[in-house]
């Protein structure tokens, strides 16, 4: 299709000439509603000068038909009666544009979702409703006025929140494409949860071996500004122009002077549980999270530091890098796009008292098992029971701990990784201890990824891991801290009691405990499960509903490493698409203030979820509200709340909606 030369000028004052195009949508609409009758009805409506039908209006032929008729019939308003505007409104708006008509002189009547689909068993009722929809659309169309699309510039830089595998991959992709990246990580090192893993299913490659080179790449890349031990404290602005405030927490160690010799660690008298090893090992108050940490910076944990001053003495720290009075530093950056990759927290099984976590020493979580299996973990890859440090002969795993729980307050979703990680851990242990007895208690085994089913099959067949279908009712501690499990084998339909040396809870993934903070900082939404919500579950899986902000990795929902990386690359690509173009079109459906009606009460300022409204001093009207069009999403909260009706949403003005409801019948 080519753009026509002829532009149709519409001021909004001339008599409307409306064309109604009714779509069959195959049999979706035509199978229920008599299309011919609908077309005839449309012709009787005021200002409708033309009406016709076609099998698929969205097809090339259908679009050409609309374009031809706009010119032939001199149409200045177009209505397509078809499906939901969500999918095809942009399609038809483009048709108008190509025909030389302002694309906002278009209205869609949804006679599929709102009529033929929901009332397919009542064709007569569906027909009546379809007529109503067309009449309302005609009423509104008569009030439509041309609108102009606005553009805003997009700064070629991206803020990535979270330095796990997803955030790192997104950062590397964007940096390679030449965009400036600010990678903010709240812990002292990047790497995220993946750094804690030993091997990765189903290929069994070592997590650290594939992760650490990426970490180094991130640190070395000149386009990436790595801000570890930092947190985003404020975000203002809008797509293309976000102003971000980042707080760099004090390390209490001068990173310029520190040579990383590690003598301070040898001398520090304070030992506390190491977060990285989930409390299975200790670290000192001055520490580096793990040997391969990037950046390899030493940090003093001031919560446990007793300020004895030993590390600061020149005998210990020769370069005198210890700074006890280190201050937090605030930096401000401007970015065009934001990617949220904040990851996940492990479900805390303490509240499930029946499984004895926290009460019996030999009950551990899957992530603790991962650290025990890790070759650079506290036990160098030789798991032992916490109670007596002996190698367990029998281990039971319980699946779906904190997942697929439909009781009040439980996580209803499947965490998607636990079946596979439990299988992997079981196989790893079996490799080293072929005589060991391993039981995996499950509800269903979900092995859906590439190579996963084969991996699971082989675990039973080649490794002799026992899969028991049934949830464990309770566990208690037997002699010698052994764990006695009571369950039902639902396949054999009989109760079983089993004594094992160690019991591993395959805990699920949860949204970050501080996800609320990110939600309010970035004004993005969360879905019912608490993870950040994507704009569309299928077609816009990395976008959020706030333009210019994308989401990647487990922050959006539980996923394994390949999926997290794929989504990160998707988010990077979407962000890059905005920045490559350099500017973005903003739909003109934003709020406008009628200054003569506005009384400046500021209610709209408080009500706006996007921070798009502010009070300004007007020369003629005094204090009035003013809308930032780039920030406004056109949600209408301000308009609905304005007692003086001083705010209207373009494309959905009070007159237009009022006409829809009350217009000529």
């Amino acid at each position: 299709m080519t753009e026509t030369e002829k532009e149709i000028i519409v001021t909004g004052n001339e008599k409307p000439r409306i064309g109604v195009f009714v779509c069959h949508c195959g049999v979706n609409i035509a199978g229920v509603i008599p299309i011919e009758d609908l077309v005839e009805y449309a012709k009787t409506l005021p200002d409708v000068v033309f009406a016709t039908e076609y099998k698929f209006m969205c097809s090339d032929v259908g679009q050409t038909l609309i374009k031809e008729k706009i010119q032939e019939q001199n149409l200045n308003r177009v209505i397509v009666a078809a499906c939901s505007p969500r999918m095809h409104e942009p399609t038809f708006r483009l048709v108008l544009k190509e025909a030389g008509l302002n694309q906002f002189l278009f209205e869609m009547a949804n006679i599929r979702e709102h009529s033929s689909w929901v009332h397919m068993k009542d064709p007569e009722g569906a027909y009546e409703i379809a007529k109503d929809h067309i009449r309302l659309a005609v009423n509104k169309a008569r009030e439509l006025v041309p609108l102009e699309v606005q553009t805003v510039e997009v700064d070629p830089s991206c803020l990535i929140i979270g330095g796990g595998i997803a955030g790192m991959n997104a950062a590397l992709d964007l940096a390679t494409e030449g965009y400036k990246v600010y990678l903010v990580e709240k812990t002292p090192t990047i790497g995220g949860h993946m750094a804690q893993l030993d091997k990765t299913f189903p290929t069994m490659d070592c997590s650290a071996c594939i992760l650490t080179p990426r970490m180094v790449d991130v640190a070395r890349n000149e386009n990436i500004e790595l801000l570890t031990y930092s947190e985003v404290t404020d975000v203002t602005g809008y797509i293309g122009n976000f102003e971000v405030t980042i707080l760099k927490k004090p390390h209490y160690v001068d990173q310029e002077k520190c040579t990383g010799c590690g003598v301070c660690i040898d001398h520090c008298p304070v030992s506390v549980g190491n977060e990285f090893d989930l409390g299975l090992a200790t670290r000192k108050a001055i520490y580096i999270p793990f040997p391969q940490a990037v950046p390899g910076q030493y940090t003093i944990d001031m919560d446990s530091c007793i300020r004895c001053g030993i590390c600061a003495s020149p005998d210990v720290c020769e370069p005198e890098a210890i700074v006890y009075d280190d201050e937090p530093e605030e930096i401000k950056v401007k970015v065009g796009t934001i990617i949220v990759a904040t990851g996940w927290d492990l479900y805390d099984p303490t509240e499930l008292k029946q499984y004895g976590y926290g009460r019996y020493p030999n009950v551990i979580t899957g992530l603790q098992m991962e650290r025990l299996l890790s070759s650079f973990g506290p036990l160098l890859g030789k798991p032992v029971r916490p109670s007596d440090l002996k190698e367990p002969h029998s281990i039971a795993f319980l699946q779906c701990v904190g997942s697929r729980n439909f009781r009040e307050g439980g996580n209803k979703y499947c965490s998607r990784v636990c079946c596979m990680y439990a299988t992997k851990q079981a196989r790893q242990y079996k490799e080293k201890h072929p005589d060991a007895e391993i039981y995996i208690f499950y509800m269903d085994i979900r092995a859906f990824g590439k190579g996963y089913e084969e991996f699971y099959e082989s675990a039973g067949r080649n490794y002799g891991i026992n899969y028991v279908r049934g949830r464990i009712a309770e566990v208690r501690e037997g002699e010698d801290h052994k764990i006695i499990i009571r369950s039902e084998d639902t396949l054999l339909q009989q109760p079983i009691e089993l004594e094992v040396d160690m019991f591993v809870l395959s805990c699920g993934l949860e949204p970050r405990a501080d996800a609320d903070k990110i939600t309010s900082l970035l004004r993005i939404q969360r879905s019912g499960d608490g993870f950040f919500m994507e704009a569309h579950p299928k077609l816009r899986p990395v976008d959020t509903l706030t333009e210019g902000i994308f989401v990647a990795g487990v922050a959006q929902g539980p996923k394994d490493i390949p999926d997290a990386v794929a989504q990160a690359k998707g988010a990077a690509s979407s962000a890059a698409a905005l920045m490559a173009k350099g500017e973005v079109e903003v739909e003109p459906f934003f709020a406008v203030v009628s200054p003569e009606r506005c009384i400046g009460c500021g209610m709209c300022v408080e009500n706006c979820a996007y921070g798009a409204v502010e009070l300004v001093e007007d020369r003629r009207f005094g204090t009035i509200a003013s809308i930032n069009q780039a920030l406004c999403k056109g949600c209408g909260a301000c308009a609905g709340n304005c007692r003086c009706s001083a705010i209207n949403i373009k494309g959905f003005t009070a007159e237009q909606i009022f006409e829809m409801i009350t217009g000529r019948f």
């Binding site: 609320d516 309010s520 506005c598 009384i599 009460c601 209610m603 009500n607 007159e655």
Partner: protein, 335 residues
């Protein structure tokens, strides 16, 4: 102390404070009440000179909410050169609440307002007394001891004061204005106000159908003169929704539907903002008790959000506020 004596005491304190404020040039003008031109009523007055302070009065007919004259400012209160004049305002509890609410809504600047706080002792329900007197002309009304004495040609009737004040005043817990920085005179501290809402209990007990009938009946005599809107300190829009013509939300007639539309939309606009001064009912020429609607709203806002309007200058009314964490169980059904 009898009501009469109380009134004299309040009146004296108003005059003393007003005289001081004018003498010390702390304010340019004083807004207060003066004797009315008809019985059962008082008029608002603006005083600029300290020799006029004796015109200020206090009695139980001071039903006007003086905050009305500040938002938007009457032309008399704005100097072409100096801008907004500094105003001292005679403030009973509900006027104080209105001032605070207007300050929250950014309509007035309290720095320019001196609040002359007084402990209000109740406002007479003038419409009820008029109704009971009937056709006869009232020529003189006074409060003596604990009775309201109504005199006319060939008759004199007495009404017990405590019974014949506004229902609102009987329930009122905020007699003196809530304390703010610019208070002089008597002000009170109110953190959380306990209100039983006894005056809406009877309405509460009705079925939805009975309520609908009651409201219809209550409003059926409305002539849409908009006196309620004009007296209300919280009605300050440049263009009221009933006067808009683009679009014309609904017609201008006294058809029952349109009367209802006016009052119900106005009630929505008042939710969480009404300061329960009762001015609307007092000025209604056909004696409609609008307080029932506004009190019911006040009760709902109190129960749902634990909010009382006009007592805390730092607290936004719930209908004006937005938090991500706001309860929304009434619009979203949890699965």
């Amino acid at each position: 102390m009898g009501i009469e004596e109380e009134n004299q005491k309040i009146e004296k304190s108003i005059r003393d404070i007003a005289r001081d404020l004018l003498k010390n040039k702390e304010v340019d003008v004083i807004i207060g009440y003066t004797e009315g031109t008809v019985p059962l009523s008082t008029s608002p007055i603006i005083i600029r000179d300290e020799k006029d302070v004796d015109k200020l009065v206090w009695n139980n007919f001071c039903y006007i909410n003086l905050a009305k004259y500040l938002a938007p400012r009457m032309p008399q209160l704005v100097d072409p050169e100096k801008g907004e004049l500094k105003v001292g305002i005679v403030t009973k509890g509900c006027v104080g609440r209105a001032l605070i609410q207007l300050a929250i809504e950014k309509q007035i600047n309290l720095d320019n307002v001196k609040i002359i706080g007084i402990p209000c002792n109740g406002i007479v329900n003038r419409r009820r007394i008029e109704k009971e007197i009937g056709e006869k002309e009232i020529l003189e009304v006074s409060v003596s001891e604990d009775n309201i004495i109504v005199k006319g040609k060939n008759f004199e009737e007495s009404f017990p004061f405590s019974e014949y004040i506004n229902e609102l005043c009987k329930q009122c817990k905020i007699k003196s204005p809530p304390k703010v920085d610019s208070c002089v005179g008597e002000c009170g501290e109110y953190e959380s106000v306990f209100d039983e809402f006894n005056d809406v209990k009877e309405f509460e007990s009705k079925t939805p159908d009975e309520k609908w009938e009651y409201i219809n009946d209550l409003l059926s005599t409305c002539t849409r003169c908009y006196a309620c809107r004009e007296a209300c300190p919280m009605c300050y829009c440049n263009l009221c929704f009933v006067d808009q013509n683009k679009p014309i939300w609904f017609g201008k007639t006294t058809d029952q539907t349109e009367i209802l539309m006016f009052h119900l939309i106005r009630a929505m606009h008042m939710a969480g903002r009404c300061v329960a001064c009762g001015a609307c009912s007092s000025v209604c020429p056909v004696g409609i008790d609008l307080n029932l609607i506004t009190r019911k709203l006040e009760q709902m806002v109190k129960e749902r959000y634990n909010f009382t309007s006009g007592i805390d200058i730092d607290k936004f009314p719930p209908m004006m506020d937005f938090e991500m964490e706001d309860e929304q169980e009434f619009m979203l059904e949890e699965d």
